[in-house]
């Protein structure tokens, strides 16, 4: 699949089929995540792959933003200690989050290319997630990616057109896309 097809075809899926995600695919998603850009090459990410059914159920129950039932979820965490050690205050407070977001984007695009549906969830209980997955101090859960085979894909949401959010050479100066 062309990268633009994945970018435009990805949706936040909330209804999944009851079908297991192959381990080979899970590894591909994680490899894609690890190739994300990283400020100062900190690579602050830690991933927790949740595929145990009981644990997955607990994660779902403490995540109001987790809809549908999936065979797999990947929690993207930031290692704040590492980010601070390698990247200083900016690494800890900003780059660690930005890097995890970029790794997450790689996961969902790779999933799309593999024919999998995903939804990025931030609406989970931070404290409960740390308790259930036994996440140590200094490591923070950032984003949960729920993964499975899509049962129903939502219609594409409206996107703000380029002419409304993009400027040429300086802020406020109109950028006219060629097709406009």
């Amino acid at each position: 699949m062309d990268v633009f097809e994945a970018i435009e075809g990805r949706r936040s899926v909330r209804k999944f089929k009851l079908k297991t995600v192959e381990r080979e695919f899970t590894e591909k998603l994680l490899t894609a995540a690890c190739w994300a850009p990283s400020g100062g090459n900190i690579q602050p990410w830690k991933f927790i792959v949740v595929e145990d059914r009981t644990t997955l159920e607990m994660v779902r129950k403490i995540s109001p933003g987790y809809f549908g039932q999936t065979p797999l979820a990947i929690l993207v965490c930031s290692d704040k200690m590492r980010a601070h050690r390698v990247g200083g205050t900016m690494g800890r407070d900003y780059l660690s989050i930005a890097d995890c977001a970029m790794a997450t984007e790689n996961i969902v695009l790779a999933a799309c290319a593999l024919g999998l549906g995903t939804c990025i969830v931030k609406s989970f209980s931070h404290a409960a997630m740390k308790e259930i997955l036994e996440i140590p101090e200094g490591v923070e859960p950032e984003l949960l990616v729920v993964v499975g085979y899509t049962d129903a894909s939502p219609a594409p949401p409206r996107r703000i057109p380029l002419k409304e959010n993009t400027y040429l050479n300086k802020f406020g100066q109109s950028f006219q896309p060629a097709g406009a």
Partner: protein
């Protein structure tokens, strides 16, 4: 029998947990997520008879659940549509309240 009761209790626990985590998250989340979670809670509450013994299925709440499940995700794509759906839901409840009140009065 015991199993059904356990299922009901488990569902009730899950519902309470949903409300607890939603309450905490609503402090930081976008303001519209508050109404969104409440609507989702109605949907989950309406499913309680499927899990708990001794509760009859309520046709009105079943319809409400279907309506909420169809409309709730408008919160991320169409705020006006989401608001209209919330308005319509309250109107439906008001009409049902009147109907039930009249029914109760006639049964007195």
């Amino acid at each position: 029998m015991t199993k059904a009761r356990n299922t009901g209790n488990e569902y009730l626990f899950e519902l309470a947990l949903f409300l607890a985590t939603s309450a905490r998250n609503c402090i930081d989340e976008p303001p519209l997520y508050g109404p969104f979670r409440l609507l989702d809670a109605i949907s989950r509450l309406a499913a309680l008879p499927e899990h708990a013994e001794g509760l009859d299925e309520d046709p009105f709440l079943k319809e409400v659940k279907a309506f909420v499940d169809e409309k709730k995700f408008l919160v991320t794509t169409d705020v006006e549509g989401f608001t209209r759906a919330a308005d319509e839901l309250v109107e439906r409840f008001a009409k049902e309240l009147k109907r039930r009140s009249a029914e109760n009065r006639s049964n007195e």
